[in-house]
């Protein structure tokens, strides 16, 4: 199968050159194949979220290289990295990062506002995405009016708005119960099967790790 994500000896150091310097990711090399679900496991502080940020082009490696497909993307300018995030990657964040003043449908439509899609088209597509995650009864509800599971589903719907090739999910089960986690995992599995996307998920939840096709365990910033 085709390797869609590859990291080569990647390091991420925060507060470099200061007394507070932290090596969050150390010399990580992984390969993730297209159409698979890969999990990064490990305890809190092991570097999972930072590794996801590196793969998702939310931050640059301090050392090493990140490839998406055959393209080395870690050295690209911010404009190109932003474009790649817009066109290629979908994010499910640990704390969802939904905008509280917006309704579910407005939150989901958000990624298309920076494209040439009209607002009405964006909201139509957002409606379809929300319906596909069983949120048709909460379309016009504000974030504060939604439960933890509903927030997570809105977050999934938003992540899928740009039809991403790669979906990145950071601790997707952290704020939901076991039943909802199972429901979420089934939804993601359907996406992979039907749309052929690649999912990279960071979690310390054994259920999520068990469910993934491939597992990479991290400890103290390194793959173990």
């Amino acid at each position: 199968m085709t390797v869609v994500i590859r990291t080569e000896n990647v390091w991420k150091t925060y507060s470099q050159g200061t007394p507070r310097q932290v090596d969050a990711v150390k010399d990580v090399t992984i390969e993730i194949e297209e159409g698979t679900i890969a999990a990064l496991g490990g305890p809190s502080g092991s570097g999972k979220s930072t590794a996801l940020s590196l793969i998702g082009l939310l931050t640059r490696p301090s050392k090493g290289k990140v490839f998406l497909g055959n393209d080395e993307v870690s050295g690209l300018s911010e404009v190109f990295r932003t474009k790649m995030r817009r066109d290629t990657i979908g994010f499910i964040f640990q704390t969802q990062y939904l905008i509280p003043q917006l309704t579910a449908i407005e939150n989901v439509a958000l990624p298309l506002l920076c494209t040439d899609t009209s607002r009405s088209e964006a909201e139509k597509k957002a409606r379809e995405r929300l319906i596909s995650v069983d949120m048709d009864h909460r379309l016009d509800f504000r974030v504060a009016q939604l439960s933890g599971g509903e927030l997570q589903r809105v977050s999934i719907a938003r992540a899928l708005m740009n039809n991403p090739r790669i979906l990145i999910a950071d601790e997707p089960s952290s704020s939901i119960d076991e039943a909802l986690t199972m429901e979420l995992l089934n939804t993601l599995r359907t996406m992979v099967d039907e749309e052929g996307m690649t999912v990279v998920v960071a979690s310390h939840d054994p259920m999520v790790l068990e469910w993934a096709d491939v597992r990479h365990l991290m400890h103290d910033g390194q793959i173990v």
Binding site: T82, I99, C114, T115, S118, R119
Partner: protein, 404 residues
């Protein structure tokens, strides 16, 4: 990317303005208050400045008075020759002026002039005669030319009188006698402060009303030769005539402005303080002070918004808030000044000068003032909101979102 994207971003920004209601109302209200203060004062200050400018334009280049013991006293006619013979003087004509009333209790400015000399000074106050009236002649006695204030005042009096050419008006003299004058003209003037309630008459009649002895005057109005340096002529007059107080048109303008707009600076300072509060408010509400706004920028970047997209959103928000706040402030100031007559504020700004403004407070709006107000309202808010967002937008989304 086409227009559609920009309209979507604008629509999102407008949505933000409506959704962050408390923040939006706070900024608009603060801008409204600061702009109202600034404009209410500025319209009065600008009105006074243009009125003073018109007064000075309609007056002589130099006024020569006589001071004895620090008090102004009448000038003997022997001074006229001295002044006229001073190098650089084109015309020097004596004036007799003071205050009188027509029995209504309102003081009017009565000015006696030499009809020929004064009338030859084109553009001088009182010479722009309306309709079928005429200027004074050398032989005129107890004839008067009146400003619009006299016409307005008599029309609004308890026994209304429509003043026109041929109307007879009596002035109360210094010794409480009534002296009858015939109106021979009504003059137009750009100034409300000094000529609105003015009566022009001949020197002899003015002396009778004001109690001046024959061959004495209040002051001498001097027009200099074209090309002469005003200050040099003034200096020569000052040094050449003992007891003379020489006032140039610039000095007159300065003292008039000080009398009428001395307190505008205090209000401008108050406006500056309020505007600073608005800027701080906008800065706090922007990505710099608000965790929520900072995270929003990080999220937008993570979702694929370019830095310019983020800045465009923040600019639309700031411009909408600023335009709304400033426009409301200007509108309020127009109503407050032009319709309500700037109650309290006019008294504070103009002080005792207010009692000398029977024509009402002079007001003016200029495009440059409006432009300046929009600029000083808009630019600081724009900078306070956009710069922190720009700083967050150029930071890696991971750092902004996770705060690492």
């Amino acid at each position: 990317m086409g227009v559609r994207k920009h309209s979507d971003l604008a629509s999102y920004a407008l949505g933000n303005v409506l959704k962050y209601r408390t923040r939006s109302v706070a900024i608009i209200l603060a801008l409204f208050i600061s702009t109202s203060i600034l404009c209410s004062v500025e319209f009065i200050r600008e009105g006074v400045v243009s009125d003073v400018s018109a007064s000075v334009d309609e007056g002589p280049d130099i006024v020569v008075q006589r001071l004895i013991g620090g008090r102004q006293v009448p000038i003997p006619d022997s001074w006229i020759t001295n002044v006229t013979n001073t190098t650089g003087v084109r015309t020097a004509t004596p004036r007799v002026w003071g205050y009188s009333d027509v029995g209504s209790g309102s003081l009017l400015t009565v000015m006696g002039v030499n009809a020929t000399e004064y009338g030859n000074m084109i553009g001088t106050v009182g010479t722009d005669i309306l309709d079928d009236g005429r200027f004074l002649n050398e032989s005129d006695y107890r004839k008067m030319i009146v400003g619009h204030g006299i016409v307005d005042m008599m029309a609004a009096s308890a026994m209304p009188l429509q003043v026109q050419v041929g109307t007879l008006l009596s002035l109360v003299t210094y010794d409480d006698e009534l002296v009858e004058f015939e109106v021979i003209g009504i003059f137009d003037s750009d100034s409300q402060i000094y000529s609105y309630d003015m009566i022009l008459t001949d020197l002899g009649s003015a002396r009778e009303v004001l109690g001046y002895e024959n061959s004495t005057f209040t002051d001498i109005a001097v027009w200099t030769n074209f090309g002469s340096d005003l200050n040099s002529v003034a200096f020569r007059l000052d040094t050449g005539i003992a007891e003379a107080r020489v006032l140039t048109s610039d000095a007159i303008s300065d003292s008039m402005l000080k009398a009428y707009t001395g307190r505008a600076g205090v209000t401008a300072l108050l406006w500056l303080v309020v505007l600073l509060a608005v800027v701080l408010l906008a800065f706090t509400a922007s990505s710099a002070g608000s965790e929520e706004a900072r995270r929003e920028v990080g999220l937008l970047k993570a979702l694929g918004f370019d830095t310019v997209d983020v800045l465009e959103i923040r600019m639309f928000e700031s411009i909408t808030l600023s335009l709304l706040g400033v426009s409301l402030g200007i509108s309020f100031a127009i109503i407050f000044d032009f319709i309500l007559g700037a109650p309290l504020l006019a008294g504070y700004i103009l002080g005792w000068g207010l009692v000398l403004l029977p024509g009402g407070i002079p007001l003016a709006i200029s495009l440059s003032t409006i432009f300046t107000v929009y600029a000083v309202g808009l630019i600081p808010i724009l900078v306070a909101a956009v710069v922190p967002s720009w700083r967050n937008a150029i930071t890696e989304p991971d750092v902004v979102l996770r705060g690492v």
